[in-house]
């Protein structure tokens, strides 16, 4: 019995260090980016931006999909909701990007809340298909809304930035580091709190969880809203990153696939799983885009996904945990 107490003490103590480590890592990255400034080729910033964007998307997806077991195929829909919130706000007013991001979080969070209510009636594969349908409906609406460019797409003029940042890409990367830090911190906080425990119970057996007093709907709504809001925030700076957005890019299959593949490869049961998965898959994709061809992008995601699902279905997290148990 004493052994159990010890292990529980340590599992209570370590999470606090993890949270601190996440914040410190984020701050360090910002500092590095500031120091490096415009001394390196802009390409590195663009590559870093993409990887950071996927850290946010994968981490956000995992809060509902990994912790709660509700697979969302509509990640691109949430991302695009964030994108087009910025597009709309950019056309109407000229607000700082941080305001756009807050609005994107609200819009996509609301969408997440709606998705959360769908879990009342839809589970498993039916829920997954419904989320895909939501994304398709949204894409159809955006494609036919001429104010935001419709199917032709729209150009977005980048706002001026202060002298602190060398280039706009430099600024966007720092912003994304901040957002990724927030997302990973949120995922960690959810996982270690009562919400995470409840979601884990829901994932294993929702009916039994209810019987144990877990308010499943409330937890699923919290998870779906948080997940949606973060994915929307990941999309908000995107129009400024590419300066031209069309529905095909914003609702791209690559976004939906990567948001699911990265947590699955990294591992869905711990906050650092999607982080590791996004860094792994994101880097490989960037390297392949440059060295082989940009078409190899999704191909390699597919191959890695198949390999991991067959060899290590619990992802990197599973491998590390099995190795830890083995070495004890």
């Amino acid at each position: 019995m004493s052994a159990t107490f010890e292990s529980h003490k340590s599992s209570v103590a370590t999470p606090l260090y993890s949270g601190l480590a996440i914040v410190l890592a984020g701050a360090t990255l910002v500092a590095v980016a500031l120091l490096v400034g415009s001394r390196v080729s802009e390409y590195y910033y663009l590559a870093a931006y993409t990887i950071l964007q996927f850290i946010v998307l994968g981490t956000a997806w995992n809060i509902l999909g990994g912790y709660g077991g509700y697979v969302n195929f509509g990640a691109a829909g949430f991302f695009a909701a964030g994108c087009y919130t910025t597009v709309v706000l950019n056309k109407l007013f000229h607000l700082p990007l941080i305001v756009d991001m807050a609005a994107a979080a609200a819009a996509a969070g609301l969408m997440g809340l709606g998705t959360g209510y769908m879990t009342l009636r839809l589970r498993g594969v039916f829920f997954a298909i419904a989320t895909l349908a939501v994304a398709i409906v949204l894409q159809t609406v955006i494609s036919n809304w001429s104010f935001v460019g419709g199917g032709r797409g729209v150009y977005v003029v980048r706002p001026e930035i202060s002298g602190l940042f060398g280039t706009y890409a430099h600024f966007l990367v720092m912003l994304m580091i901040g957002l990724a830090t927030c997302a990973v911190f949120a995922a960690w906080a959810v996982e270690k709190s009562w919400i995470g425990v409840g979601l884990a119970a829901i994932r294993d057996n929702e009916t039994a969880a209810e019987t144990c007093g877990v308010p499943s709907l409330r937890l699923k709504l919290i998870a779906a809203t948080t997940s949606g809001a973060l994915m929307g925030m990941a999309g908000a700076p995107f129009p400024y990153y590419v300066s031209y957005v069309d529905p095909a890019t914003a609702f791209s299959l690559a976004i939906a696939v990567n948001s699911i593949a990265m947590p699955l490869v990294g591992g869905t049961t711990a906050w650092w799983g999607p982080l590791v998965g996004a860094i792994m898959l994101g880097s490989v994709q960037q390297i392949l885009t440059v060295t082989v061809s940009s078409a190899a992008n999704l191909f390699i995601v597919g191959v890695l996904l198949v390999v991991f699902l067959t060899v290590a279905p619990r992802g990197v997290v599973g491998i590390v945990r099995a190795w830890k148990r083995g070495s004890q």
């Binding site: 107490f5 425990v197 057996n205 019987t211 007093g213």
Partner: protein, 240 residues
């Protein structure tokens, strides 16, 4: 019978035109041990699901501990002290045995401190005889251990009423005795128990009162010996 703690009145439930329950009244007194029996498919589990809030009855009302809970969600009923086990065990496979017990301690009871939760979970595992399995996965448990885990998780919710849905099905005689002894101990601690069971020996030994459901209707409700002498009960169980 002492004052009622759980009372279902004229509960009716249909599934696609099939009458699973018709006008069933079932009252359980505080501290009582009630056995609920009936042939397979007679509606016992449907009744349990209505009580626990897993499914909603078409009509009828349920009063628990003085409050009308007819429309309350399952988690709220658990929080107020109405716990149940599942006929087919439903452990949380991704957690250890002890973490399974921690879920109701955290949610139904509302403990916050990880240390308190851990200590109390271990105490419950001691009580149901799973202390040495605390850090194992439910996947390696035997059938009887899984039933004990179900009971332990229900107990962790600090129930006033425990509905035990076929916790002994498929167990050996000595295992049945083990579970019966545990249920009797719990009842002595003041927990009201509604036992759904097919093993007649267990039901007769345990119950102070027996309720019989056949084809969704209550056909008998009384002292075990009286109920078992009733003609229609005999017919339902042994045929014409």
């Amino acid at each position: 019978m002492s004052a009622a703690i759980l009372a279902g009145a004229s509960i009716t439930k249909q599934f696609d035109g099939f009458a699973a329950l018709t006008d069933v009244d079932l009252t359980v007194g505080k501290g009582e041990r009630v056995g609920l029996i009936g042939p397979n498919g007679s509606g016992k589990s449907t009744l349990v699901n209505c009580f626990a809030g897993i499914i909603a009855a078409d009509s009828g009302s349920i009063v628990f501990d003085g409050a009308d809970i007819t429309a309350a969600p399952a988690w709220l009923r658990a929080k107020h002290g109405l716990a149940r086990t599942y006929q087919i065990p439903r452990p949380f496979h991704g957690m250890t045995v002890q973490e399974n017990i921690q879920v109701p301690l955290r949610f139904a009871v509302g403990h916050r401190s990880a240390r308190v939760i851990s200590v109390e979970a271990q105490a419950i595992l001691d009580q149901v005889g799973l202390a040495d399995k605390a850090s194992r996965s439910p996947k390696v448990l035997t059938q009887v251990e899984l039933r004990k885990l179900e009971l332990g998780r229900a107990l962790a919710a600090r129930p006033k009423v425990l509905i035990a849905d076929e916790v002994m099905a498929g167990l050996s005689d000595s295992e049945v005795d083990e579970i019966l002894a545990l249920l009797t101990r719990l009842n002595a601690q003041g927990i009201t128990i509604l036992l759904i069971e097919h093993i007649m020996r267990a039901v007769m030994m345990f119950s102070q009162r027996i309720v019989v459901i056949v084809a969704g209707r209550k056909i008998a409700d009384g002292l075990p010996d009286d109920v078992m002498r009733q003609d229609d009960v005999e017919r339902a169980y042994l045929g014409e």
